[in-house]
Assembly symmetry: C2
Homo-oligomer: 500 residues x 2
């Protein structure tokens, strides 16, 4: 087999693996949205079987042989060419998968499946004690996993590489320190001033009108509904089933319109990324999203830099008023905009505003590093959690349910995943600033209902590259600066100091 | 490996194959109901991949080895034991699959995929000429397939065995001849009398109320909605995704309430069979439906023997009147019941009433046998079709669209499938009569809203056996008589002679 033939076969194998994984995507989507209750047992068997088949393919020794035939050939001379990128990334993934002993993979699946159930009960009953041994167990396995995968600076990096390839703890730590130094005083100063009222957002917003309005927003920002759909789900999410099939799940609240709307904008950001990927390269690294941080940057950008902007509401507010005349007839555009830009520390990460959100993440980043290092016994987690919330957000959770039991991530084995949320916020600010430098100020575009120039810029500069550049390199290339929180701090300070 | 171990492994393999096929079921269901338009290309890739994996499993040589270890052992001494049944049926399937050369399987998939598209266009344009060569092609391949699979009496049996194992042409032919002799004069005599009006069924029936009423009927007949769901689809269907997950797709017509209702009862019959199978034995022959004819007998029984009965409407009619006061206020129960039991020959099989339906099937049975035998050139099909419709139904279709182009079956490669519809009707009549002999007359049960005794009798006597007995043996065991159209002729004559 010559390198050309090997490459063709490599792409075929890689696509096949992606198509299998995409079946898993549909099984999961259906389970969230439409599966009848009694179908859960069988669904578990379907998912286990398909996941096993996908794993077999990911570790198929033929990958190794084919890659060996291509590596070093003229096909991959240009490191930025699609051939070279695909070979580089498939090699990286294959080597990582191969380093994990099968027993560890199986034990990991078993333990996290059980731990998720224990976690759900522990949260319901506010009973941290029953969950604590599982934390020990999972972080113990996570240490084994990180060591099997390998790491240079800090063990945490061995896990982070799965979510944000190319990013390391020693790059994240100074960014987070810097953020903390600026955000904690900002939040404190906003607390000293009066928090603008948000009761206008808690009025009666009939669900049918919410749905119509939200569908209109999705269309306006460019969500392709021929190539996707919106459904009602327990938790908001976006799932790419495959090219031409990107699905958003949303929840609507009769007395909280903006919760549904901002979730829509967030998920639309994810969906626009998926819809902006190169369809022809589906199932190969060149057609896949580059990292969780970059994915999150797209959702945060549409949620916060578009959805909370003056321009957005100058365009949509009169339409919103006509959709909900009873709730909003007497509310001015300025009052409304202030209400949706309200900053107030709270206990729950997923309900946090744009400014305090990152402080929630830092707490988790510190704690999971300490747990992984073995410096923090699981039993001490609630105390450490409270202390960090008090230090960073100025509040102490009244119980563990609203404290360290609120997120499913650790129970699911998602360790080193949290920082990608804040990286997403940091990247979003950098990308938005770069977009404005390239296109010009976007305020007037948004006010005129034009979201296309921003979207096309993102497709061109971010989505179409797939995994050509690792996230830090992509950000540097597109914005002229490596990942750096300055743009976010600058934007938040400017926007929120003027908002009280 | 001893026979016990081999049996355990055999069951595991069989289940794995079923679970894979059930993923295909969900991919198909989603494609019919929720998939966005642009997702169709990717869906094709998903289905092709999973179908290929399922086929690999079906022909895995390990089946042969494992079966060989068990066959002849003490494990299968009792031929009606689950062990023996599973071994017998898995052997039958494996040997059939193995007899098909891979090239033929691939050619079959390719040709039928293309033919379905040609058929759809030909039907739209009423253009039989473009479809004719594909008929030749498909029946040519079907001859090869039947010969590869093997047959004794007539080549048609080689194909029929896939849909109705144990049934043969020389058993069907005399039943159909007998049916024709009785039904043709019955239909003619009903035509001479005045057809009762059905305009009361064509009034305005608001869709929301249809849906509510139909959901109530589904609950009443025992459809388990925790283990299934109802959705809107282009064509009515029932799909079992797996144990605890059986889904019905339905279409509602604002000016034709009963079309949706009888489709619901029909699909509920299929669903109750699927829900009545032994969940513990899912994925093995003991937990699988036995044949298409038996499956259809369940749908026909609920549609016609329950849904068109006096008792059913004595129970539901007042509720129906309150759901649709504008349409039905002035209509008596007796008028309504006559309208839903109307017999009138028409061109379209899927819109046919209970009496004429079987005549549609006989036309297809004769023609597909002649096409398979090579006695009828494809070009002569439209003429032969018209002639048989005139002879059996007394009407001649005005064009091929309402004639020989109406069904997708042949384009899809479904040859020898049609007779299972009439076998279903024959079995339904026999089963219903046997149920009444066992439980007592059901008229009063239905009138009291009790559908449970019938359903439980069917679960006990039909569903729970899985594939323990082939369809003809099952019918004989449960009704005391081999498959025989007498019960159906008797029931139709009694019910329809009194209806004019």
């Amino acid at each position: 087999m010559n390198p050309d033939q090997a490459y063709t076969e490599l792409v075929r194998l890689s696509r096949e693996k992606s198509v299998l994984e995409s079946c898993l995507g549909l099984l999961q989507w259906d389970a969230e949205i439409y599966m009848p209750r009694s179908g859960v047992g069988h669904r578990g068997e379907q998912m286990a079987l398909v996941a096993g088949l996908a794993h077999d393919r990911a570790t198929d020794p033929r990958f190794d042989e084919l890659l060996g035939t291509i590596e070093g050939s003229a096909l991959v001379n240009d490191p930025e060419s699609p051939h070279a990128v695909n070979v580089r990334e498939l090699r990286r993934n294959f080597d990582r998968q191969r380093r994990l002993p099968r027993e560890l993979v199986e034990e990991w699946a078993r333990v996290t499946a059980l731990a998720s159930q224990v976690w759900a009960d522990a949260r319901t009953n506010d009973d941290f004690k029953t969950f604590a041994p599982w934390i020990e167990r999972i972080f113990g396995l996570a240490r084994e996993k990180a060591d099997a995968l390998g790491w240079v600076g800090e063990r945490y990096d061995g896990l982070l590489e799965d979510y944000e390839p190319g990013m390391t703890t020693d790059r994240i730590s100074p960014m987070f320190t810097r953020l903390e130094a600026d955000l904690v005083p900002l939040v404190a100063s906003l607390r000293e001033q009066s928090v603008p009222p948000d009761d206008i957002l808690k009025r009666e917003f009939p669900l049918d009108n919410q749905r119509l309005f939200i569908e209109g927003v999705a269309r306006a920002v460019g969500f392709d509904s021929e190539g996707g759909r919106l459904d009602v789900s327990q938790h908001p999410f976006c799932s790419m089933i495959g090219p031409g099939d990107v699905r958003i799940g949303l929840r609507y609240f009769p007395n909280n319109f903006t919760r549904g709307l901002f979730a829509l904008l967030h998920e639309c950001g994810h969906a626009l990324y998926d819809q902006g990927l190169d369809r022809e390269r589906y199932g190969t690294p060149m057609g896949d999203p580059v990292s969780l941080g970059i994915h999150e940057s797209q959702s945060r950008l549409w949620e916060n830099y578009v959805g909370r902007s003056h321009g957005f509401w100058r365009h949509f507010y009169s339409q919103l008023q006509s959709s909900f005349p009873d709730a909003l007839r007497e509310v001015s555009l300025e009052e409304f905009r202030k209400a949706v830009n309200r900053v107030k520390p709270g206990f729950i990460r997923i309900e946090a505003d744009e400014v305090t959100y990152n402080l929630h993440i830092m707490v988790r980043f510190d704690l999971e590093r300490a747990l992984l290092a073995g410096d923090l016994p699981a039993a001490d987690l609630p105390g450490a959690w409270s202390e960090l919330y008090e230090r960073r957000l100025g509040i102490k959770p009244p119980d563990d349910r609203t404290g360290c039991l609120q997120d499913i991530h650790w129970a699911d084995g998602l360790i080193a995943y949290f920082p990608t949320y804040t990286l997403g916020n940091i990247y979003a600010a950098q990308l938005f600033a770069a977009a404005e430098r390239a296109i010009g100020p976007l305020e007037e575009s948004f006010a005129a209902g034009n979201f296309r120039s921003l979207r096309e810029w993102l497709v061109e500069n971010v989505h179409r590259h797939g995994q050509r550049y690792a996230a830090p390199a992509l950000i540097e290339r597109v914005t002229g600066s490596p990942p750096d929180p300055s743009a976010m701090i600058e934007s938040l300070s400017r926007r929120y100091h003027g908002n009280v």
